[in-house]
Subunit: 428 residues, 2 copies
């Protein structure tokens, strides 16, 4: 366990690399694929807006709705009911309308929740190591201390227990735990139901709020869905973060923080937290654009308040991409099977590749320049040097052909680093 | 001078009062008038989006533009050039494209700038007293210490000088000064050019950054415009905050923070600050919705990149409202001329009324219940009890008839509080 050190912007670095080597294929970007955005052409956005306005006019009366949409509005958002319904239906989370705080993307939910959950200088946010940089960044920006859980065979619950004790000795207190249980960014890891229950139990015992971030949960390529921690939560310890960036489009900048009915059994404490979050949001962005909120709600209404059918083409595309990537990794790296390993994620946008050598910023550069592929060093997401030998590969924003070509390029790079030759079968 | 104490949400209180007395007229809300929003019907928003896409396609090529709009995008925004042009043309600020950070409304600019300018616990933000609650709120949310300038006949520059000395004795340092030089919220006050120059000189000497917030500057009802402080700034001490909430619509949630070319003559320091602000913004909202950015840019392009013609009907409306309010204040309060005073703002949405008695939350309630008018106690914007005898009256979101009726209602309330009778001429 070590404390968080602010890092230079990962995005900036990658943008610079992309700018310098425009012909390199990027396996670094975890963006959703553009190829389904044609369903959101300008006319479709307008239609969605009008659909929401008609729906909303039931309550408020015709022409007034659009005028109200253009004004300052409710801080907690205007589409909580529809979002609650969608999250219940698609993600199995028992969301209550009056506990859904609409945010300007999930990033704002983090920027609002972290300082609210960790108000004292001795309060600490626990994170996995590696973890999503937006979370450690939001913590740094709001002056919230971060501690990384140690990586142990015994799992996260045990690591939380250990961290609580260590912090206690320093006069500090773990207040929140940030987790992506489904298809983690950056690792692609999924937590099973027993692990989720264990974590909930430990967090309940120590009064630690779990911030369950679930941007990828709907992108499962095989096997049965595992209930989100918010659905397993009996104590009132999970704040669930939802987003439309991966299902609809990032540019809508609409997400949500969904509170449980009580905080550790205390309904009053939950009301207090809710009001604190709403007030903090008002001081960050006043309210989320009601135009983009209305577009999201309109699209949801058109889809029967479920995105299951909407995301199917993307789901199939991502599954194919994952399969192509796994297959090509197998082809390219089978000669190095003793030295190179990777996981087989059953959903999400990412997988982790373990290398027998350090892979840092200079490696990104060389790999882009000589082998035409940009990958993400796992160390960019790490809070210590434990991730220096790993990289993250994203398969969401590329085509199968690009995956084949770029994984082959990565193979050439690895072979060169290892002073070995890449078998000719993958030389193309 | 005293330190900021977090206050309960003003908005919540006013919403509750409005909810309890729905027939009361609100002079509390500083919203822009809805009556010109018909120019922004759904079709107009779509047109603006398409206008921007056609404009942008020049650089990027046809169909790709919309697809890029829907993706994650540049943290600093995609419409900096157009906004820089508009701010130069309409507000006389020498904005450079590469120094325009697009934000999710001006509130986010505050949430990003305050902790960047005041990174150390000993760093202090100076504010006028009273001041905009969103600023003290953003400071509280980002754990930035605030000190209120003392109100003295000698003016703001002298008060800054005094505050710097006092803070220095406490081992603290003033790092930034928040100001609305044009038609201040909440007071309606305008700073003349000499006062602006004095403040700039003092701030330059003490290396204090001026955060010049200018939401109302374009709403001047008479007299010549006074150059914004950013236009008078020779040292590199002004960050200029711009917004489209009052000129176009609040719901677009698009604003901007515009940096000078140097920070106190140091171009390198300015680059460092710029990068810090961009990184902080990425941790608050990643980027501002590119859909609403594109709508703003499209509207600006349609208007020849100036909002002067666009705002004219609203300007005339607000001017009339101000005149009606001043006239009705004169009629209603002439019998109390010795006890009640108000300013005559030459622009903006607000004026200040000085009363001979305390006006707090319970007064708001009584005034709403018995006299059908909701006003804003100035103490809601204050950092001490110096504003307990004042109220803020907003004339932007009401009709002339509502102004006449509500000011008369306020007159009845005041007469009752003073144990006097309201002359019958205004009894209607």
């Amino acid at each position: 366990m070590m404390d968080y050190m602010p890092q230079t912007s990962v995005m900036n670095f990658l943008n610079e690399v992309s700018g310098s080597f425009p012909s390199a294929i990027s396996l670094a970007s975890g963006r959703p694929s553009d190829r389904f955005f044609n369903r959101l052409d300008p006319q479709a956005l307008l239609n969605a807006l009008v659909v929401y306005e008609r729906y909303s006019a039931g309550d408020h009366g015709g022409g007034q709705v659009h005028s109200q949409l253009l004004q300052y509005g409710r801080t907690a958002g205007i589409i909580s009911e529809i979002v609650a319904q969608q999250v219940r239906s698609d993600e199995g989370v028992p969301a209550r309308t009056d506990r859904v705080l609409i945010t300007s993307g999930c990033q704002e939910a983090l920027a609002v929740c972290l300082p609210a959950l960790c108000p004292e200088p001795s309060d600490v946010l626990l994170v996995c190591n590696p973890t999503y940089v937006g979370t450690t960044g939001a913590a740094a920006a709001t002056r919230v201390a971060v501690s990384a859980l140690r990586n142990s065979e015994l799992g996260i619950a045990e690591a939380v227990e250990f961290a609580v004790l260590q912090l206690c000795r320093q006069g500090r207190r773990a207040r929140a735990l940030y987790l992506i249980p489904d298809f983690d960014n950056p690792t692609g890891r999924v937590l099973g139901t027993p692990a989720r229950r264990d974590i909930l139990q430990v967090c309940d015992r120590h009064r630690i709020i779990v911030l369950e971030d679930n941007p990828y949960g709907q992108f499962r390529y095989e096997g049965d869905a595992i209930p989100p921690m918010a659905a397993l939560d009996e104590a009132g310890s999970v704040i669930y973060l939802s987003t439309f960036s991966k299902t609809l489009a990032p540019s809508l900048r609409v997400g949500a923080a969904i509170l449980p009915e009580t905080i550790f059994g205390d309904a009053g404490a939950c009301r207090v937290l809710w009001e604190d979050l709403v007030q903090r949001k008002s001081f960050v962005t006043l309210n989320t654009s009601q135009i983009t909120q209305a577009i999201v709600a309109g699209l949801l209404i058109e889809q029967g308040v479920s995105l299951r059918d909407w995301i199917r083409p993307a789901l199939d595309w991502y599954r194919t991409n994952r399969d192509v990537m796994l297959c090509q990794l197998n082809r390219v790296f089978s000669p190095f099977a003793d030295q190179i390993r990777w996981n087989r994620p059953c959903g999400g946008f990412f997988l982790t590749l373990d290398l027998p050598f350090r892979f840092g910023a200079e490696s990104v550069d060389e790999c882009a320049r000589r082998d035409n592929v940009i990958v993400m060093p796992m160390s960019f997401f790490a809070l210590d040097n434990s991730q220096d030998y790993r990289i993250r590969l994203a398969f969401s924003a590329v085509t199968p052909e690009q995956i084949r070509t770029s994984v082959t390029g990565l193979g050439r790079y690895v072979a060169r680093r290892l002073g070995r030759e890449l078998p000719s079968l993958v030389g193309g």
